[in-house]
Amino acid sequence: MSRYIFQRIWTSAVTLFVVITLTFFLMRAIPGGPFTDEKAIPPQILTKVLERYHMNDPIHVQYFHYLQSLARFDLGPSFRYEGMSVNDLIRNSFPISLLIGSLAILIALGVGVPAGIVSALRRGGWQDKSAMVVATLGITIPNYVIATLMVYIFAYRLGIVTVGFWEGISTAILPAITLAGYPTAFISRLTRSSMLEVIQQDYIRTARSKGLRERTVVYIHALRNAVIPVVTYLGPLAAGILTGSFVVEQIYGVPGLGTFFVTSIQNRDYTTIMGVTVFYSALLVSLNLVVDICYGFIDPRIKLGG
């Protein structure tokens, strides 16, 4: 088991390193520097500015410089927001995204898993069919369409909620529901198929023939094995919610990290794009690591392959 964990930590570190390197050189490959402007900047000032951001050094020196600051968890200054560092931007906006994202994950698990169990147990019944129709719709409708429809219905037509400014958890609910749409649908399909598989296993027949109550059989014996695929899906789930937040936050006017990321793309704020990319990747790589290690504990078979 420890060998497996060590191996996973090692591959995560390599992945992150590749990501950082790739991002750095991609951003340096963009034609035109970040200070290229319509206004001609006096050459003395330009030299000073370039010196300030170490832009005059050879590229490999810049690269090592960047790695050094990353090791200190310093993502560098923002080119567009004066006096702000990328760290400041993330510190201000990420908690909002984290709140919405965690809510979305809770909704996705809380609705998706039970829906999957019910449709597996009532296979072919109306519960199964309607759950699967809803799930298919959830998978095919793009999340920004769902978001705009929700804004239209709840904000414009019914006037129940306000959009455009942040008021804490009450404004987080609609974006969270929107983000949860696709994962809820996916999790319910995943749970359904794995539940159908598990329920046919011999040990379930044994449990039933022992005379256990159906509830005990389903929720104690079957569910434990049926949720294993859902655990593996947690990594992609987080990634999906993260990318989904780019548009969903914008539509609801939430000042989260997703909104900042898109704004910095539109502003061509290269250091912010780079910093947020590295931050996102580090977040997801470590999340995947945690999920994989948990998976190793939940499913003992993984040790053999370790």
Partner: protein, 319 residues
Amino acid sequence: METMRSGNGASEASLSTIDPALFERVSDDEKRKDEFLRESVSYWQDAWRRLKADPLAMGGLAVIVIVVLFAAFGPMLSAYEYDAQDFLVANEAPSGTHLFGTDMFGRDLFVRVLYGARISLAVGLVASLINLTIGVVYGGISGYLGGRADNVMMRIVDAIHSIPLMIYVILLMVVIGPGLKSIFLTLGISYWASMARIVRAETIRIKNEEFVLAARVLGASLRRILLRHLIPNAMGPILVTLTFSIPQAIFVEAFLSFIGLGVSAPMASWGVLTSDAINTLAIYPYQLFFPAAAISVTILAFNFLGDGLRDALDPRLRK
């Protein structure tokens, strides 16, 4: 030799003693029992027959054909150009003259949605084909070589898989700049990892079969074995993955257009159309409805077809 000949002689002798009256003629009816009543069907014919029996998959296929036909010929039949502006009829609601209404520049939304179908379908198809090529070659080589090469190649795929690709597509688009060609390129080089995994798994399954061994013994090159023997036999799963990757590419393109990295005006993909419509949603909701419905219906159709194809090509997976 001696004993055999004598044995033959003995059986001939015993045969001649059988009374011919014991035999009777085979009736025509009985002869017919040996005929093949069913035509022999190939793998693909069999799959097609199963697919035809699946109403959802056939519905999806029909929708896709209709969308493709409309995308190809629709704009020619329409009286309007996709980029023709007419401010006198700006923001008109759907009517007989403008089926889907008009946008803020007075452009006919029906022809713009049809034109958007061209771009969105082209993105889906071209990006998926580039993915297919990279994924099949990469996965095929990795699976066929096996051992250390396979290990290294698959660790690279794992690394790619663990990064949210959308972020990289966005970064690449920022570097290359917006436009249709950039979208083809970035989507094509980003999303091949799952195709490579599937092709690798198939290759490992097939490469141990006798006919591949025979080809190797006959001195066939790696290229020939991959192209002639491994890939044709892995075609089923490849086709299914391809069907699912087309809607994914359409989706990603819509997403990119939405955050301002898509095709440039006056061209319009479905993503651009939905994104434009959101600004005026409160007043002209129909401008969002049509392109959004087009995306959703098309993605739904591809998903149904993909599910049906998977069941048809691999009956073991049917549940």
